[in-house]
């Protein structure tokens, strides 16, 4: 394995040759390549197409103060060799542009627009330069992530530059939904181009809940920023917290105690369980199957109450510490968890039996909202949605963290890409999670649950990732002086998957949209930050 890695890296270095400025192995699993702007496209193309890397995240950072320019990091994951390669390129302030790769790699569409909005670097040749993070009524020349931006300043509102898809002919109705919804749904504005009940195109306008968390974290002590990370989202609080903690631990180059790893794994799986079971129940609301909804809710509530009993918080907040977890659990808790899980397993099996043998339910779900493998690959879709479309990725297995390399589990993959496949993936993962938790209790070692962090040098970089119930969540962190945050970039699963929803909807009928949307189960807060 180790040899493979070395060979892999050496070969990349040789093949890229002149095109790169430097080639540094920064951490055992991360290599940094520095390229000039004009070589960026070629290097990325080489990494993606010849070496089958997949875009993990892309970060733009204002490093003028200590590096003299804006810096862009393109992180690629190589699952086979468990390696990350970061391609770094510099953009000086005078020439605040960079070559756009979005036309070639549609997955970069949002990342580049985000850099444009927040840092004011112009992606040249981007086919769609509409505002993304900041809405059309935000002044075009104010970029919040530039260091000179004053947080307390109120930006003036300007005439909106928002635009949506244009339709030819007088037959298309633009159906607007949101940002204020009828139910308790997060804000997002969807504009369907539809004729009658058939959808032609979906414009999704998100980032209504952009709270500027990344900006807010700048200069914040790492220990407090953890709580900020925890509050990015309601239902994946733990995933975000663990990701952040892992990023800090990577920056500090610290290994956490084994028991803490197991505990993190346990809680992460509990989080996945209540999310997946809740989602399976909730999907029934999409076709009005009341029993499914009520039974799903009952099971989810059982799990939430279990969370409260063992961790003091229904949504598992306040558990993670930098360098481990904040408290340990004892044997009565083991028994509590295991007996609750037994109950859940029986109830869930029954629910699944009813659901999957219900003709109308299955009919509603199958062939609805199909996302093809090509679309999933092109957009670098992650998580449940990716696995339902035949994209065999799961970061727990591919780039293991916590104790995932010590437990055995299978990764369910379906190829249909429809709502039913996404539900089936969730159902299978529920049983996998239950099995993982049982393994944890067999293997659980004794020992400390936390380790103190050594002092972290300024401008150290770290990356943390977690396969949340929605997909991989990536936290990219650069520390500042005095153990504060210099640049923090969160790429949640939702961020990667939202563009895919818009692709899965056209061709379906309007009343199927809630169903499709729920089957992706994307959360806006994660995405908008």
């Amino acid at each position: 394995m180790l040899k493979n890695k070395k060979l892999f890296l050496t070969r990349i270095k040789q093949q890229l040759g002149e095109k790169i400025l430097s080639f540094t192995i920064r951490q055992p699993n991360e290599t940094e390549i520095v390229v000039k702007k004009d070589q960026l496209a070629e290097v990325c193309r080489f990494l993606c197409q010849e070496k089958e890397g997949r875009l993990f995240t892309m970060v733009g950072s204002d490093e003028r103060e200590f590096a003299g320019s804006f810096v862009l990091y393109y992180v690629f994951s190589f699952d086979e060799t468990q390696q990350f390669i970061t391609v770094k390129t510099m953009t000086p302030e005078e020439d605040s542009t960079f070559p756009s790769l979005a036309a070639e790699f549609p997955a970069l569409n949002w990342y580049e627009r985000e850099v444009k909005d927040l840092l004011g670097l112009r992606p040249q040749g981007h086919p769609d330069l509409r505002p993304l993070i900041l809405h059309g009524d935000w002044p075009e020349e104010i970029h919040p992530l530039r260091k000179e931006f004053d947080v307390s300043q109120n930006a003036p509102r300007v005439k909106s530059r928002e635009s949506f898809m244009q339709y030819e002919g007088d037959e298309v109705t633009e159906i607007p939904v949101g940002p204020i919804h009828a139910g308790i749904i997060e804000p997002g504005h969807f504009r369907f181009g539809a004729v009658g009940d058939t959808v032609l195109y979906l414009d999704a306008r998100l980032f209504f809940t952009h709270r500027g968390l990344e900006k807010a974290s700048e200069g914040m002590p790492l220990s407090k920023a953890l709580f900020l990370a925890e509050r990015i989202c309601g239902v994946c609080a733990l995933s975000h917290a663990v990701s952040f903690a892992q990023a800090v631990e990577a920056a500090a180059a610290v290994e956490i105690p084994l028991r803490a790893k197991y505990l993190r794994t346990l809680f992460l799986e509990l989080e996945r369980l209540y999310n997946h079971i809740g989602d399976v129940g909730n999907i029934c609301a999409g076709f009005g199957f009341a029993v499914g909804v009520s039974q799903g809710t009952i099971l989810r509530e059982e799990l939430l109450m279990l969370n409260e009993r063992i961790a003091g918080h229904r949504y598992l907040r306040g558990i993670v510490d930098l360098g481990g977890v904040r408290f340990d659990i004892a044997h009565p808790d083991y028994a509590d968890i295991l007996s609750t899980l037994n109950k859940i397993e029986i109830g869930f099996t029954e629910l699944v039996d009813i659901l999957l043998s219900h003709d109308i339910a299955v009919d509603r779900m199958s062939k609805t909202g199909i996302l093809t493998l090509k679309q999933a690959n092109d957009l670098e879709v992650v998580g449940v949605a990716a696995r339902a479309s035949g994209r065999n990725i799961d970061i727990r297995r591919d780039q293991p963290y916590a104790a995932y390399d010590k437990v055995s589990f299978t990764v369910p993959v379906y190829t249909e890409g429809d709502v039913l496949a996404r539900i089936r993936v969730r159902i299978d993962e529920v049983f996998q999670s239950i099995s993982i938790i049982r393994q944890i209790f067999i293997q659980m070692p004794t020992g400390d649950v936390s380790v103190g962090l050594p002092p972290i040098s300024p401008y150290a970089r770290g990356m943390g990732w977690v396969e949340s119930s929605k997909g991989e969540t990536v936290h990219w962190l650069m520390t500042g002086p005095n153990e504060t945050v210099e640049r923090y970039r969160v790429r949640s699963a939702t961020y990667s998957n939202w563009p895919a929803v818009a692709l899965a909807v056209p061709g379906n009928i309007v009343p199927d949209f809630p169903l499709i949307n729920k089957s992706f189960e994307l959360c806006y807060a994660c995405c908008d930050r």
């Binding site: 549609p106 030819e168 007088d170 037959e171 109705t173 940002p179 204020i180 504005h189 009658g196 563009p499």
Partner: protein
């Protein structure tokens, strides 16, 4: 005495129309032409209506001989109850349309020749009056041809507009195919009776062999079915009606196609004395098919006049269902039920004339105000044209057969006729067919309601979708008055069916020697062996009572509710007119359900340079109308080709070709006479 004076009144009618034709045609100033033509047609209509009412209520028949051409080929009139009924409808429409036209034709001032249009209107009315009143096969055919030609020229009035000529050609070709069949059936009658006189037809047809009766009936059905726009002979209808100026479309749709029903009733009952059950079955099936397909295709339309034209095909279908049921009952010796079915058909003929007249004039008013018939460009007219909106809505409610308007009563009677097919005819097939036919009628009514909501909702409600609609304003008073007259009749005939029963009584008595008692104002007892009664008046009174009382109680109990005016809820964003449901979108679910019949398919064009980055999406929904395509395109193409060849030979224009056609027809008739 009365009879004698009615004669004179009728002659006055004819003279007025004739005068209107020529006086208008020669007058130069548009304003004068407008006044002369429409005063003449208005007065003609009034006198004609008096004549018809005199005949219907006075239980008498008018005979009138004008002149003889040769031997027994004469221009003579005989107005019996059936003729008078149709004469009444023509004249009522003539009155309403004349008033309407005074305003409507101002649109054409200094653009087109008003004299020709006004003269044409008079001539058209005259020809229709002749069709339903002449007493001679030969004269009937001449009048029929005159009616077809005049209406053709009126359709072609705006021939410079794209599509109008094509529509005109399709119309003229189809109508002549129909005429050929009608001519053949009259020739057959002539050959076996040796006379063209209707009286001889009636007297001698009883001795005809069955095959001949069947032949005559089938040819008459095809011929008149073409004029009536019965599916699949309807193709000309949705093309010609929208192409004509709106007041002409109103007349064509409300009256002209009804002359086909007159012809069919005349031939099948009066001449042939009813027939075997299968005649009725065919007519019923054709009617059901027509009603269903007609309205389904209509629902797909976004052109308000095309929709109305298709709906005419639907309503002719309903009328044919009534006639079919009548034929079946007649063949089964159920004379009371036959009378019920005939009443249903006649009632619907009258009703359809009223509400379709209103609707076509309403569509004309929209066209007048906005210069577009495409509802996807309209919207918000209810605030700009409040009167037109109300009148159109009344017409629409009647078309959707909703109480308390007249459409409901006749559709109810048709329902009863169809249901009694299964209740009272022992044959098991009829037991099932009656129910299925009733179900077909039900779906037709629901589709019609959907079509009206689509067109009214898109064109009149919410926000304007284009400059056309934004700049609209209410139409002149005369146009509103024309619509209002018919709309008022829609309501009156809906709550006072006794009136209609009084005027159809004679027809039934003559044909079936039985009658439905309908003397009371408020109710229609279709009494007899069953007591299927309907008291629309009582129901309406109760409804109004509850409404008043409820509103009062609510006011008393909860006080005068405050109403705040605010934006339409749009999920927190501002509402744009492109967010309203379009006409296409509205009918899309139905079309998708009925995809196999309508052949609905879409063309989507995505403009994009890179995959995943579309810039613009083009969309268009097409309805293939598979029935038309399959059955018609080759025939129409062939006929058009032939006529083009003929035109080339003649090296002349279409008008002279048509003139030749008429002359040929007359020559042929004369030649047969000589032999």
């Amino acid at each position: 005495m009365i009879e004698a004076s009615l004669d004179k009144v009728f002659i006055t009618t004819l003279s007025l129309f004739l005068f209107g034709t020529f006086a208008a045609a020669v007058s130069q100033k548009p304003r004068t032409a407008n006044l002369i033509a429409h005063t003449a047609s208005f007065l003609g209509g009034m006198t004609g209506a008096i004549t018809a009412l005199g005949v219907l209520l006075g239980q008498q028949t008018i005979f009138l001989s004008a002149w003889y051409i040769i031997a027994d080929i004469s221009l003579s009139f005989r107005i019996d109850a059936l003729s008078a009924f149709f004469l009444l409808i023509i004249c009522m429409l003539a009155v309403a349309v004349s008033i309407y036209s005074i305003g409507y034709v101002t649109e054409y001032y200094h653009k087109k020749n008003i004299g020709l249009l006004g003269g044409g209107l008079n001539l058209f009315l005259l020809s229709m009056v002749l069709v339903v009143t002449v007493d001679n096969g030969f004269a009937f055919l001449i009048a029929w041809e005159l009616m077809s030609l005049v209406s053709f020229f009126l359709v072609m009035y705006e021939h410079e507009r794209p599509g109008v000529r094509r529509a005109g050609y399709v119309y003229v070709v189809m109508t002549h195919i129909g005429t050929v069949f009608i001519t053949l059936s009259f020739l057959a009658l002539f050959l076996f009776t040796g006379s063209f006189s209707f009286t001889d037809f009636q007297a001698m047809s009883a001795q005809f062999p069955n095959w001949l009766k069947n032949l005559i009936f089938i040819m008459a059905l095809i011929g008149f079915g073409t004029k009536a726009g019965i599916v699949p002979l309807h193709v000309w209808l949705p093309r010609a009606h929208p192409a004509a100026p709106s007041h002409i479309s109103a007349l064509m749709s409300a009256v002209m196609i009804k002359t086909a029903a007159y012809g069919l009733l005349r031939v099948s009952f009066d001449f042939l004395g009813g027939g075997p059950v299968w005649w009725g079955a065919i007519v019923l099936a054709a009617g059901a098919l027509s009603a269903f397909i007609g309205i389904l295709f209509g629902l797909a339309e976004n052109d308000i006049k095309r929709f109305l034209a298709y709906s005419s095909a639907e309503n002719m279908g309903i009328i044919f269902m009534g006639i079919g049921a009548c034929l079946v009952f007649n063949a089964s010796q159920q004379s009371l039920l036959a009378a019920l079915a005939l009443t249903a058909a006649l009632y619907h003929i009258l009703n359809h004339a009223m509400f379709k007249g209103t609707l076509f004039m309403g569509a004309g008013a929209v066209l007048f105000a906005t210069h577009t018939r495409n509802i996807n460009e309209l919207g918000g007219l209810i605030k700009r044209m409040p009167y037109t909106a109300v009148l159109f809505l009344i017409g629409g409610l009647a078309l959707s057969a909703l109480p308390p308007f007249n459409g409901f009563i006749s559709e109810w009677a048709t329902f009863q006729s169809l249901l009694h097919l299964s209740f009272d005819i022992p044959n098991p097939w009829w037991k099932i067919s009656g129910g299925l036919a009733a179900a077909a009628l039900g779906i037709t009514g629901a589709f019609a309601a959907g079509g009206i909501i689509k067109h009214f909702g898109t064109a009149f409600l919410a926000m304007p979708r284009s400059e056309h609609a934004r700049g609209a304003s209410e139409v002149p008073a005369s146009m509103r008055a024309g619509m209002a007259i018919l709309a008022l009749f829609s309501l009156v005939l809906g709550v006072w069916p006794g009136f209609v029963l009084a005027i159809t009584k004679n027809i039934n008595e003559k044909m079936f020697h039985t009658h439905l008692s309908g003397d009371a104002i408020w109710y229609v007892p279709f009494a007899g062996q069953k007591t299927e009664t309907l008291f629309p008046g009582i129901v309406l009174l109760t409804l109004l009572g509850i409404l008043m009382l409820g509103a009062l109680l609510l006011r008393f109990w909860a006080g005068k509710g405050k109403v705040h005016i605010d934006e339409t809820w749009n999920c927190g964003t501002s509402l744009e007119s492109s967010m309203q449901y379009t006409g296409t979108a509205y009918s899309h679910p139905v079309l998708r359900i009925m995809q196999r019949l309508t052949g609905t398919h879409k063309k989507v064009k995505v403009y994009q340079q890179y995959a995943y980055y579309p810039r613009k999406i083009g969309y268009h929904l097409y309805n293939d109308h598979s029935i038309e395509d399959a059955a018609y395109k080759p025939v129409v193409a062939f006929t058009v080709k032939v006529s083009q060849v003929i035109r080339m030979i003649q090296n002349g224009n279409l008008q002279s070709y048509l003139a030749y056609m008429v002359i040929t027809l007359i020559m042929a008739l004369l030649w047969i006479r000589q032999v």
